[in-house]
C-alpha cells in the first residue's frame, strides 16, 4: 500500500508550499470528492475489475433489451445481424391477436385494486405492529413475513386449489385475492419504518391537545404517512404488475394480466405464437413497467423497491 501512496503523491521535494500546482491538485481532489492520497487507492486493479464487471452486466442488459425491441420491429430475422424488413405491424397484430385492450384493462384493474386493498388492510396493521406490544405479536409478525419469504408456488398452489374449489378460479377476483397475499405483508414492511420515523410524542402531543384516537389518525398520522403510503402503493403496483407465478396459477384467458398473457403466448399449445408478437408484447410490458418505475423513483428511494427503508429519502 505504501508504495502506491508514494507513487502518486510525489510531493516531498520540488513542491513549493502553496504553489499553483499544489492548489490545482488540491482543488481537483476536492472536486472529485476524494480525500488527499485517496487517488492511489482508488486506482487499484480491483476498481478496474468492478467497472468492467458492471460494464459487462450493462452490455448484457442492453443487448437483451435491444434484441427484443429490434425483434419486435423486424420481419424475417434469421441468420443475419438485423432483420431483413422493419415493420411496426407486430404491435398492431399482437394488440388485436391477444386483445391487449382487455389484457391491459385487467392488469390495471388488478393492480389498482390490489394497491387500494393492501394499503387499506396493511397500513393500520403496520401501525399497530410498529407501535404496540400485544400478546401474539411475534407470531403475527412472523406470519406476515412468511408470504414474502416463501416461494410463491408453495402457497400459490394450495391457494389456487382453494380458489378453484370456491368457484373463483380464473376470475379477476381470484387474481386480486392471490396478489394480496404478498402485497399486504409488503405494505406492512414498507410502512413500518415510515411509521417508526414518526416520533410517538407527536401522537402524544395530539392527544394532549385533546385529540381522540380517531382524530390522531386522521389529522396527524394520515398526512404524515402520505409519503410512506405513496411509496408502498407504487411498490405494490410494480410488484403486482410484475407478479407472474401467483397470477398465472389462478388466472384464465379473461383474467390474465400482461405478464401472464405474454407467457401464454410464448408457450401456448395450439402453436406458439410468432416470436415477434411476443416481443412486441414484451416491449409494451417493459415500457409500462419503466414508466411506473421512473414515476416510482421520483417518490421512493431505489432501495425501497426491495426492502424496508432504513433512511429517509436522500436528496
Amino acid at each position: 500500500m505504501a508504495t502506491d501512496v508514494i507513487a502518486t503523491t510525489p510531493t516531498a521535494g520540488p513542491q513549493t508550499p502553496g504553489s499553483e500546482r499544489a492548489r490545482k491538485r488540491a482543488t481537483r481532489a476536492a472536486r472529485s470528492g476524494r480525500a488527499p492520497g485517496e487517488k492511489a487507492l482508488v486506482a487499484a486493479p480491483s476498481t478496474w475489475f468492478v467497472w468492467a464487471g458492471m460494464a459487462a452486466f450493462l452490455i448484457f442488459l442492453l443487448g437483451i433489451l435491444t434484441s427484443v425491441i429490434v425483434d419486435s420491429f423486424g420481419k424475417s430475422w434469421f441468420s443475419t445481424w438485423l432483420p431483413e424488413v422493419f415493420t411496426p405491424q407486430w404491435y398492431a397484430k399482437s394488440w388485436e391477436r391477444f386483445d391487449l385492450t382487455h389484457v391491459i384493462g385487467v392488469t390495471l384493474t388488478v393492480a389498482v385494486s390490489v394497491v387500494v386493498l393492501s394499503v387499506l388492510i396493511g397500513v393500520p396493521a403496520a401501525y399497530l405492529l410498529a407501535r404496540r406490544d400485544f400478546p401474539g405479536k411475534k407470531l403475527l409478525s412472523l406470519l406476515f413475513l412468511l408470504p414474502i419469504l416463501m416461494p410463491p408456488i408453495t402457497f400459490g398452489i394450495p391457494l389456487a386449489t382453494v380458489m378453484y374449489n370456491l368457484g373463483l378460479g380464473r376470475t379477476i377476483w381470484a387474481v386480486i385475492l392471490v396478489n394480496l397475499v404478498p402485497s399486504v405483508p409488503f405494505v406492512i414492511m414498507t410502512m413500518t419504518p415510515f411509521i417508526e420515523q414518526i416520533n410517538p410524542s407527536i401522537e402524544n402531543a395530539a392527544r394532549m391537545c385533546g385529540a381522540s384516537m380517531r382524530q390522531v389518525f386522521t389529522r396527524v398520522l394520515a398526512p404524515l404517512l402520505i409519503p410512506g403510503i405513496l411509496a408502498a402503493a407504487i411498490l405494490v403496483l410494480v410488484r403486482t404488475v410484475g407478479m407472474f407465478e401467483l397470477t398465472f396459477l389462478v388466472s384464465g384467458p379473461q383474467s390474465d394480466t400482461l405478464v401472464v398473457a405474454i407467457y401464454r403466448a410464448m408457450t401456448s399449445a395450439g402453436g406458439g405464437e410468432a416470436r415477434q408478437l411476443v416481443s412486441a408484447m414484451a416491449v409494451m410490458y417493459t415500457m409500462t413497467m419503466m414508466i411506473i418505475l421512473v414515476v416510482a423513483l421520483r417518490f421512493v428511494n431505489p432501495t425501497q423497491l426491495v426492502a424496508r427503508v432504513k433512511d429517509s429519502r436522500e436528496d
Binding site: 437483451i64 434484441s67 416461494p151 410463491p152 397475499v181 410464448m266
Partner: protein, 323 residues
C-alpha cells in the same frame, strides 16, 4: 416542605389508603392492566389484516398440507404407503426428488454471485457523485424487464445466432457458437439479471446504514482501505449480507418461468416449481402438486434457517448509521 415524602415501596400494604383502594384495583386497574398488556380497542385495526392472512394464507396452506395426505389412486398404487403415498413418491421417485438438487444447483450459486458481485458495486456507488442516480437507475432497470421478457431477450440475444455469439465469433474469441440458452447457464443468467438489482439495492442500503464516521475513525487510526474493509465494514455488513443472501435466494429458489423458457425444463433445470406446476397444471394431480410445493417451502426454509443460524453468531447490533 418535605412532609409529603413517603418513599415506601407500595407493594402489599395498602393500610394507609383504605378508601376506594379496593374499587380502584377492580375497575381502573383492570383497564390499566389490559392496556399495559397492549390490549385495547385499537387492536381492531389488526382485524382486517389478520382475517386476510388467515383466509388467504393460513387456511389455504393448511388445506394444502391436508391435500398432501389425500394422494390420488394412481400414486397410491404406484408407491403404497396409504395417505403418505405422495411423500413416498416425493422421496422415492428420483425424477421428483432430484429436483431439490437441481433447484439448489441454481439458487445457491445465483444468490451467492448476486451478493458477492453487489458488494464491490455498492461500494463504488456509495457516496455522492454525478450520475449516481443514473447509474443506480441503470442497475435497477432489470426489474422492469420481468422474468418473461428477460427470457425472451436471452433467447434472442444469447441464442446460437444471437448478437452475443455472432460478436464473439466475429471477433474470433470462439469458433462455434456457445450454447448459452435452453440450459443451466441460461437460467443462471436470467437469475443473475433479475436478482442482481435486488441484491445491489439491499446491500447499498445496508452499506449506507453504516455510520461513515466509523470509517473515518478507522482512517485516523491508520487503517488503509483493505483494513478498513476487512476489519470494520465487513463485520458490520455481514448480517446485511446474510439477509440479502436469504432474499435473493428466495427469489432464485422459486424460479419458474425462466426455468421453463430459457432452461432445459425436464433436464438440467427441472426445478421444484416446475415439478409442482407440472403436477398441478399438466397432470391435474393437486395432492401431489401440493406435496411438492410444501416440500419446496420446507427445503427453502431449511436453507434460510441455516443462514440465520450463521448470522446469529455475528455482531448484529446497531451499525451507528441512520436508523
Amino acid at each position: 416542605m418535605s412532609t409529603a415524602v413517603d418513599s415506601r415501596r407500595p407493594g402489599g400494604d395498602s393500610a394507609g389508603a383504605p378508601r376506594g383502594a379496593g374499587q380502584r384495583k377492580s375497575s381502573a386497574s383492570l383497564r390499566h392492566r389490559l392496556a399495559e398488556r397492549g390490549i385495547d380497542k385499537s387492536l381492531v385495526m389488526l382485524v382486517p389484516a389478520a382475517v386476510f392472512l388467515i383466509a388467504l394464507f393460513v387456511y389455504p396452506f393448511t388445506y394444502g398440507i391436508g391435500l398432501t395426505f389425500q394422494p390420488s389412486l394412481l400414486q397410491q398404487e404406484k408407491w403404497g404407503g396409504g395417505i403418505f403415498a405422495n411423500y413416498l413418491a416425493f422421496f422415492k421417485d428420483p425424477f421428483v426428488f432430484d429436483s431439490i438438487w437441481l433447484t439448489m444447483r441454481l439458487a445457491l450459486p445465483a444468490a451467492l454471485i448476486n451478493v458477492l458481485a453487489s458488494i464491490p458495486v455498492a461500494f463504488k456507488l456509495r457516496g455522492k457523485f454525478r450520475g449516481k442516480r443514473f447509474m443506480t437507475t441503470l442497475l435497477v432497470l432489470p426489474i422492469t424487464l420481468g422474468t418473461v421478457l428477460t427470457a425472451q431477450g436471452l433467447l434472442i440475444f444469447a441464442g446460437r445466432q444471437g448478437w452475443l455469439n455472432r460478436f464473439l465469433m466475429e471477433v474470433g474469441i470462439i469458433d462455434a457458437p456457445l450454447q448459452l440458452v435452453n440450459n443451466y447457464i441460461g437460467v443462471l443468467f436470467s437469475l443473475i439479471i433479475t436478482g442482481f438489482p435486488f441484491a445491489f439495492l439491499l446491500i447499498s442500503s445496508y452499506l449506507s446504514g453504516i455510520d461513515p464516521s466509523l470509517e473515518a475513525a478507522a482512517r485516523t487510526l491508520g487503517a488503509d482501505w483493505k483494513q478498513r474493509f476487512r476489519r470494520v465494514i465487513l463485520p458490520l455488513l455481514a448480517p446485511g449480507l446474510a439477509t440479502t443472501f436469504i432474499l435473493t435466494f428466495v427469489l432464485a429458489f422459486s424460479v419458474f418461468p425462466s426455468a421453463r423458457l430459457v432452461g432445459d425444463a425436464m433436464g438440467s433445470t427441472r426445478v421444484m416449481s416446475l415439478m409442482a406446476f407440472r403436477a398441478f397444471g399438466e397432470q391435474n394431480d393437486y395432492p401431489m402438486a401440493s406435496t411438492i410445493a410444501i416440500m419446496m417451502g420446507v427445503v427453502e426454509l431449511a436453507v434460510i434457517a441455516l443462514v440465520l443460524l450463521w448470522r446469529s453468531f455475528l455482531y448484529k447490533g446497531s451499525t451507528g448509521g441512520k436508523g
